[in-house]
Every structure is written in structure tokens, then in C-alpha cells.
């Protein structure tokens, strides 16, 4: 197998191991650390599929901003030590994993049968950063503009949701 496939196999297993680590992490901080490693594995997978631009966007936004926000919230709400939250009752665990296992099997069968997966063509990669930029500003110009309006709405939403002065609206003590 070509080194590329070794990379995909290795990174794939690494990502799945980290995903299991996130799910069964004893405290959210170790969950966040598992998430960082998982996103690194994903960036490696994107590299193995020869799109370095996506790998860098993944490291910059997903690992460098989203998980930092998770760690900030865990530190702010001092959830870190010992309050892992634990796992729901074993009945839910049984049904959840059983149901989702069958669902993924059905999804896989459907995916393998769809015309989308013909005999594996020697894919020649999806074009680099320039192809992406040209496409973004020609065919997808409209979603690009809507995106800034969407992010403006999210800025307003987060401020309204986490307003500092609304801090003690219904604190447990003074209720």
C-alpha cells in the first residue's frame, strides 16, 4: 500500500481512539484534550487526502478557537476536577449504542450502493487553495455574503445570551 494509505489508516485509527477517549473522559478537561488530539488526527486525514488548505483551516479554527472556547468555559464554570458527569443509566447506554450501531450499518450499506461510490477511480485531488478561492468568489459568492450577516447575528446572540450584567438573575442562593 502506498504511504498515503498508511497515513489514512493510521490517522483514522488515531481519530477513533481519541473520539472514544472524549466520550468516556472522566472530566471535561480531559475530554477537551482528547478533542484537540482528535482534531489533529482529522487535520492529518485532510492532509492525506492532499488538501493542505483544509488541514490548516481545521487547525486554525477547530483546534485553535473552538476547543479553546470549550476549555475557557470548563475553566470558568470550574467543572474540571472530579465532576465528570458520568454516564447515563445502563439501559440508555444499551439502547443508544445498539440503535446507533444498526443505523451506521444501514448508512454504510446505502453509501456503498449509491452511484456515488463506483469502482474507485484514481482521484486526482480536488484542487488546491486557488481553485477553492476562485470557486468561492464566482459560484458561491452569495453564501459568502450571507455568511457575514449570519456571523453578525451570532455575535448579537452570544452577547444577549451571556450578558455580564445579567449575571445574578436567578442565582441559586438568592432564590
Amino acid at each position: 500500500m502506498s504511504p498515503n494509505e498508511w497515513m489514512i489508516a493510521g490517522m483514522g485509527i488515531f481519530v477513533l481512539v481519541c473520539a472514544v477517549a472524549v466520550i468516556f473522559s472522566r472530566s471535561p478537561i480531559y475530554g477537551a484534550f482528547g478533542l484537540v488530539l482528535c482534531f489533529f488526527g482529522m487535520a492529518g486525514l485532510f492532509l492525506a487526502w492532499s488538501s493542505p488548505f483544509l488541514a490548516m483551516i481545521q487547525v486554525l479554527i477547530s483546534t485553535g478557537a473552538v476547543v479553546v472556547l470549550f476549555v475557557f468555559v470548563v475553566m470558568l464554570l470550574n467543572l474540571g476536577h472530579g465532576s465528570g458527569g458520568g454516564v447515563a443509566g445502563w439501559v440508555t447506554v444499551l439502547f443508544a449504542s445498539g440503535g446507533i450501531w444498526t443505523l451506521s450499518l444501514v448508512l454504510l450499506r446505502a453509501l456503498n450502493r449509491s452511484p456515488f461510490y463506483p469502482a474507485p477511480s484514481g482521484a486526482q485531488g480536488a484542487g488546491g487553495l486557488r481553485a477553492f478561492s476562485k470557486l468561492l468568489f464566482t459560484d458561491y459568492l452569495w453564501p459568502f455574503e450571507v455568511l457575514s450577516v449570519f456571523l453578525l447575528a451570532v455575535v448579537v446572540a452570544t452577547y444577549v445570551v451571556a450578558r455580564p450584567e445579567a449575571g445574578n438573575v436567578a442565582r441559586k442562593e438568592n432564590r
Binding site: 498515503n4 497515513m7 492532509l47 492525506a48 492532499s50 493542505p52 483551516i57 486554525l60 479554527i61 485553535g64 478557537a65 473552538v66 479553546v68 472556547l69 475557557f72 468555559v73 470558568l76 464554570l77 470550574n78 474540571g80 476536577h81 487553495l129 486557488r130 477553492f132 478561492s133 476562485k134 468561492l136 468568489f137 459568492l141 459568502f144 455574503e145 455568511l147 457575514s148 450577516v149 456571523l151 453578525l152 451570532v154 455575535v155 448579537v156 452570544t158 452577547y159 451571556a162 450578558r163 455580564p164 449575571g167
Partner: protein, 120 residues
């Protein structure tokens, strides 16, 4: 993918260096733990209470606004790459970016007007 092979090599060397540092200190450093050394350092005062009082949500707001403006800053990079060639067909890309930038600046003005970054 070939271009990132040396980066993997650099990561391996950096990990070896970190392991070397950690190994050297734990191997060479003496171990004489004493109660005074093991308590958390509070400029000499006796540490009391748990270290975890909830802080005001200003830090959360900073992290969220960083995330949102970082996402907006990333979309400037593809634009800056393609901008110079696109000048041949007129100012289409410039107008597109000015509209995008308008909404980003609107968000920034909202953040500044609402004073959610005025910390203590």
C-alpha cells in the same frame, strides 16, 4: 502530502527533545518533598478554600468574540489571494469584500458599543 513530510520529521525531533528534557530533570533532580514545598504557593499565606470560584463571564465573551472574528478573518485569506488577478475584470471582488467587511465592522461596533470588553 509530500511537502508536509519534513514537518512530521520536525515534530518527531521536537517530541524527542521534550522527552529528553523531561527525562533529564526527573533522573537528575533530587526528590526531597516536604509539606511546605507541596502546598500551593500563596506568597507565604496559608492557602484556604478551593481555588475554583466562578469568575465573571467576561472571559467567556472574549473567547466567543475571538472565535467569531477569527472565522471572519480566515475568509479574507482566499480573497487576498485571488484579488490581484481579479482586478483585470473590474472591481467586482472589491465590492464583494466591502459588503462583507461592512457586516464585520457592524459586529465590531456592536461589541464596542455594548462595552462587553470593559474588564475590571
Amino acid at each position: 502530502m509530500e511537502a508536509f513530510a519534513p514537518v512530521g520529521l520536525l515534530l518527531a525531533i521536537a517530541l524527542a527533545m521534550c522527552a529528553g528534557i523531561l527525562g533529564l530533570t526527573t533522573w537528575l533532580g533530587p526528590r526531597r518533598p516536604s509539606a511546605a514545598k507541596l502546598s500551593t504557593y500563596e506568597c507565604g499565606a496559608i492557602p484556604e478554600g478551593n481555588a475554583r470560584q466562578p469568575f465573571r463571564s467576561r472571559f467567556y465573551l472574549i473567547a466567543v468574540l475571538f472565535l467569531l472574528f477569527d472565522v471572519e478573518a480566515v475568509f479574507f485569506i482566499p480573497w487576498a489571494l485571488v484579488y490581484r488577478e481579479s482586478l483585470a475584470e473590474g472591481a467586482g471582488l472589491l465590492l464583494a469584500m466591502l459588503v462583507y467587511l461592512g457586516f464585520v465592522v457592524l459586529g465590531l461596533i456592536y461589541v464596542i458599543r455594548k462595552k462587553c470588553l470593559e474588564l475590571y
